[in-house]
Symmetry: C2
Subunit: 508 residues, 2 copies
């Protein structure tokens, strides 16, 4: 045996050993996903003390496996080896996880986790009492701790850019900011234009009271129509809709409100998009980065693609209204349902109840505030006033309470700063991907109208799901669409759609 062969063998062995180690880490994370789903869906209330211990043990063991010296040695050896492109991508992904986990002291991780737990309780109370003051000290501490974390990872860079990478590691904050700025510049005047248009679209097609059992049955039918694989999934209800799982078992939850049949159905379609992505990851690659989804923007692009580009179309209502009518009395036409499902609200303060346009201004406000907090350009005490001013400036409405203002979202109480932008980035990416699919396949309206989703399924499998985390975000978008990731497609789409709905002038 020559020395060369011996080295190659040793390196291949390092790569294989790295994969085995990563599979253990993945198994631990996957188990945490099940425990967490159970906690939110099936666990009796009293189970919390044991569940917390189970989750923290699994999390610590995973962190220890990832940051062990042995992982570092295996990464070094694998990187020195002669790897093909896919193997190199695998090592790149594990390296990124390793560096980030290794940079942050375990004591800081634990402090953030403990502070978040306290902050969550404080936030719940503050929101109920409309009392920002009692939440402020926790928010200050979390901002400070996350700034420390960013400094531990890279002291030379913008701390907000560093935190953003936790949720979206392979799309620069620069690109994200450019996109968010364009959304603001374009949507603020466009929403004004809509308010001034005087167009009389139907808004009441879903008024009334709707039995929640019937809503659930309808959601199940729609999931089946969209192509949800019930052998690898299930639908439950939870206080916040979410998706959990992997290519073997990916479950969605939704919630139903008697007075709002659209809310539950829209959440179901949104979560279907998340689940359909995970279920399309290569099964044989489970436990490796090639069997994992890309990060939050790409994930959100999949939920928004189904929510907006399928579920909010007139063709969807032509398909769905007859089923809807089997469960509920309605004399709405599909056009009326479409209009009601796409009305732009001029008085809504709540992000999760926003329409497809104003939604992004809710996000931009949060983005600008959290960015300035983390950069040290804004004080926690100024948040309520800045929040309200921005709502007035961007959306023409002003919250009367902090409960319906800066206390409305849970994210900051979890210490999540840098998460919000991925919601808008995902929507924007969804349009670019959907346009590319239609460029290749032709108009998909008939497919939606006839519930024939095979072509769209296949396109998504081939261009997005099947790659796992093989490509970085921008690379993935470029490969799928032939263009870098920008806001162009999204802005053209909303101009056309809402131009038609609200009878606006043809150009921006």
């Amino acid at each position: 045996m020559s020395t060369d062969t011996a080295t190659a063998d040793a390196d291949t062995t390092a790569y294989e050993e790295l994969l085995s180690r990563y599979e253990r880490i993945s198994s631990l994370q996957s188990a945490q996903g099940v425990l967490s789903w159970d906690q939110q869906v099936t666990m009796p209330e009293g189970g919390t003390p044991a569940r917390s211990k189970e989750l923290s043990t699994l999390s610590s063991l995973g962190h220890e496996l990832l940051t062990d010296d042995e992982t570092a040695d295996l990464l070094d050896a694998a990187e020195a080896a002669d790897l093909d492109d896919e193997q190199a991508a695998v090592v790149r992904e594990i390296r990124r996880d390793y560096e980030r986990a290794d940079a942050v002291p375990q004591s800081l991780v634990e402090e953030i986790s403990e502070t978040s737990t306290e902050a969550l309780g404080a936030w719940e109370e503050a929101k109920a009492d409309d009392d920002f003051e009692t939440f402020a000290p926790y928010l200050e501490e979390l901002v400070e701790l996350r700034r420390e974390e960013a400094a531990a990872i890279d002291d030379d860079r913008d701390p907000y850019a560093v935190l953003f990478e936790e949720y979206e590691p392979c799309l620069s904050l620069d690109r994200a900011e450019r996109i968010l700025d364009r959304l603001k510049e374009t949507l603020v005047p466009m929403i004004d234009e809509i308010a001034d248009s005087g167009a009389a679209i139907t808004t009441d097609a879903f008024d009334g009271t709707y039995d929640t059992d019937a809503q659930e049955a309808l959601s199940r039918e729609v999931l089946t129509t969209l192509g949800y694989d019930w052998d690898r999934g299930r639908l439950d209800t939870s206080s916040h809709p979410f998706t959990a799982g992997n290519q073997h078992d990916c479950r969605v939850t939704t919630r139903f409100d008697e007075s709002d049949p659209l809310g539950g159905l829209t959440a179901t379609v949104h979560e279907f998009g998340h689940a359909f992505y995970n279920l399309g990851l290569p099964r044989e690659e489970w436990g490796t980065p090639l069997g994992e989804s890309r990060d939050l923007s790409v994930h959100e692009s999949q939920s928004r693609l189904w929510e907006n580009h399928v579920g909010r179309t007139e063709a969807f209502w032509e398909q769905t209204l007859p089923t809807f009518a089997e469960y509920f009395d309605t004399d709405a036409t599909s056009r009326e349902a479409y209009e009601s499902a796409n009305q732009v609200y001029d008085d809504n303060l709540i992000r999760v109840e926003a329409d497809e346009l104003t939604y992004h201004l809710h996000i931009v406000i949060r983005f600008e505030i959290e960015r300035d907090l983390i950069r040290g350009d804004l004080d926690v005490s100024e948040v309520p006033a800045v929040w309200n001013d921005k709502y007035e400036e961007y959306l023409g409405i002003r919250p009367e309470t902090d409960a319906e203002g800066c206390l409305q979202d849970i994210h900051w109480s979890h210490g999540n700063f840098g998460y919000f932008p991925t919601y808008s980035l995902g929507s924007v990416m969804a349009t670019q991907l959907f346009d590319a699919a239609e460029d290749e396949l032709g108009d998909l309206d008939d497919d939606i109208r006839n519930a024939g989703f095979d072509r769209l399924h296949e396109w998504l499998r081939e261009n997005v799901h099947g790659h796992g985390a093989r490509y970085e975000t921008n690379e993935l978008v470029e490969q799928a669409t032939g263009e870098p990731f920008t806001a162009d497609a999204f802005l053209a789409y909303v101009r056309e759609k809402y131009g038609e709905l609200y009878d606006l002038e043809a150009s921006v």
Copy 2:
């Protein structure tokens, strides 16, 4: 600081570190319990590949933590320290787990696990096809592997005694054999006596068809009546009833059959007993042996106590029949329900459908066969004939097929040898415990009749549940009942109960 104090500090530290390590191991086991519950109750079918990986990773990590040199060092240091009785019991329990896990090579553990997986598939097929020959090679291999395991643990002792300790580590096989032998000696003639008695008891109170949704609603009501804490539990259905969880979250499952309302209800009451034990373990001791249940005989004593000494009494039917009648048309009296629920079958070949008396002969047969297999006194090829002969000898019936003979139970395909006896030991222990409770509290019939279970709850909490694994099995029974663990109470109980039902002579 004196040297003595320094040593004491070091030892206390070792004890604390041992506890921390054990808590991690417990968390991993507890997480496996949730994953396994999910697999049997909520997981979509396709989830198996990921679930298998998750479970095997958690199991391996737990094994590695337990058998690590650091555990051995901490055990040595803790044992050398000045511990109080409770601490000493904690160390004793961890030492026992450690020794057993450390003695068996990981390769053998994995071989048994893999062979069991194959054997399970082969058993399912063999049972469906009534073809013992195809299962025989797997059974042979499992017997051989478990004999190797016993030899690895202790080469000088009876291998069956060693395997029995996996399920019941602190009750000697000698005592178990004495009890099983007495059951056989007493019950075989007593069952003959019953068959010859000619007594005409009611057997048809539960004939008919019973809606399974209504059965489930009834089971929920009965669980509430017995005192199940719904804040820390839930009821679901699964193909085999089971209980999973701990003092914070302990869930039961049952199954319903339209033609047998008693089967589902009895399973519910049985599983309630298991769950009520776990829910009574000290909450602050979760993750230590003081917060864990004693082994399988004690656990089964709790399920059987509620199943037999509460659920199979006439007082229970006086309490339950009015509720039953809210769900189902019935003109049965509580006496008739009681008689039907306690009929002794003379033609039943299936263990899980057996009555309170013949049940134990089903167990004795399995015990004698598996003991002889593991001791090398019986060949796998002889199992079907020996099985059928023993059924004829002990129960006066002979299976016509192996499917309803030696292939009926799943246990051996899992490689579980030594498990079956704990079912009978638990029933026998249940009677001894229930008698002791009545000795102290007076007759409990009125409590059962009036659904007033506080006194029994409290007695069980104080004498059994609250101790966790503080005492070894026999010690626990002696403390609770004032007597060593024997079959006396059980045999007196069945003589009295079935003597009255079947009008037998007063003495055995």
